[in-house]
Amino acid sequence: MNRKSVTATLLAAALLSGVAMQSAFAAEEKTNPIPGIPSNSLEMWGGKDGVHEWAVALFHYIMLDTRINFLFKEFGNPERQIFLNTQLETMVLGGPNEYQGASMTAAHADLNINMEQFNAVVEAAYNACERINLHYWACNQVIAALAPFTDDIVTR
């Protein structure tokens, strides 16, 4: 591996773990799905604790999926990902913006993620909702809220 690719790999790993971009200001904002996320969405999810349980289940399924688990094994830190995803999903479901990670664009810029890999994460998200016995309708609120990030994440 040449010096340039080593640097890129380290940068990507750092970005994905959120360490490099931590700041006092959140690097990502709430999205604006139409016609809006119901005000009781976070409550339906069981608050931040429920979102955390879902994030744990999400990474359980992601790490079992051979279409995407190598990305996370190579670049990611699942514990850190669960922490950041809990913050991100809590925010988009109507909670406070305490997200400490990188912006979606920055975090995924060098990962060369394609549509199939993105959809694999969406499938893992639905599996995680089932795992924590979250109603499909409530689950779709987070899909609606995260969907606008698609073009920031899928770069291939």
């Binding site: 999205t31 604006n32 799905p33 139409i34 016609p35 809006g36 996320i37 119901p38 279409r67 394609n114 549509m115 199939e116 890999q117 959809n119 694999a120 969406v122 499938e123 639905y126 499909y136 309708w137 779709n140 609120q141 899909i143 609606a144 809220a145 969907a147 606008p148 698609t150 291939r156």
Partner: protein, 363 residues
Amino acid sequence: MKRNERAARTGSFLKAAAILAAGLFSGNAAAGFYNDGKVLLTGGVATIDGAGGGGITPWAVINGYGTRDGINGSLHYTYAYLPNYSLNSYGASVGLYDRLELSFTRSTLPTGSTFDTVGLIAGILPGVVGDTGIEPFNTTIEMDVFGAKLRLFGDAVYTSDSLIPQVSIGGFYKDNKNKDLLTTLQAAKRKDWEAYVSVTKVYFPFSTLVNLTGRYTSANQTGLTGFGYKDRTNGGSGKKDDKKEMRLEVSIATLVAKNTAFGAEYAQHGTSLDNVGVNLNGIGTGQLVGAITDALGPVTDVAGVSLDHLDDTLTQHEDDWYDLFFAYAPNKRISFVVAYAMLGNITLTPDQHGFYLSTHLTF
């Protein structure tokens, strides 16, 4: 020498073709083209015309599970059990890079007692009416449908922060095999094309998909009874009306789980053959009823149909189509649709409502 050179050149060509074919169809190459990366049910199921969509309405989505990075194919079979007909529709489609969809479908429509009655009447007057294309039993309508769809812009699934839907245009070329029967029904054409534009959007906060389609067509009963109208009665005007018109189609599907949806569809139909009688070799319905009454003398009914109502029986009607459906996809390889189709008058027969079963295999 020249022969040897030609043979060598042919050998090289065959060798190159063999290498190319081996490359194309080898596992690695197939893995390069093949893609099934879409989320469950987001490619729709197969319409009776073979396009990706609902049961009767094409949607803007490209059929199958291929993303923009590959190709995905599918097979489908649909069976609709109606009181006087049964529709069988089967075919294949391929989705290319979530941009282009190509499909072929064959529809067969075995007809029932009403057509049998017409066939029987034609049989009573063999020297008069000639070949009507309708037999006293087992008259079957067959039609081939070639389809193509192109996604223009938009993403039905992931642009939840925009009102812009996924928009596709498409078309069908339909080739009805029953020339004599369509002459009897007074259709203007047995082959024709139709075009459509579909807009589709998923509203995740409602777990609901909405589709609107405008279909530019002159089809009678989707083409199963031809296209347009031509007056073929003796002494008639000879009027021909095969102009296409834009007809509205709507689908609404609510997802109750990631693999289960239910919903409703509506498809506007034309009126070209509405209130048009059959024509048996130039003999219109009125003349025909008179001839039959004269021929049968004291007989007052044929196959249970009173001669008093024969005029109505031999007059066609067409209604808009509706259906309520339930779709279930246990995995990406197979899905099932159960629907209740309310198709109203189908040519000579009223109240054609019944169950519809469809399966869609993707690979």
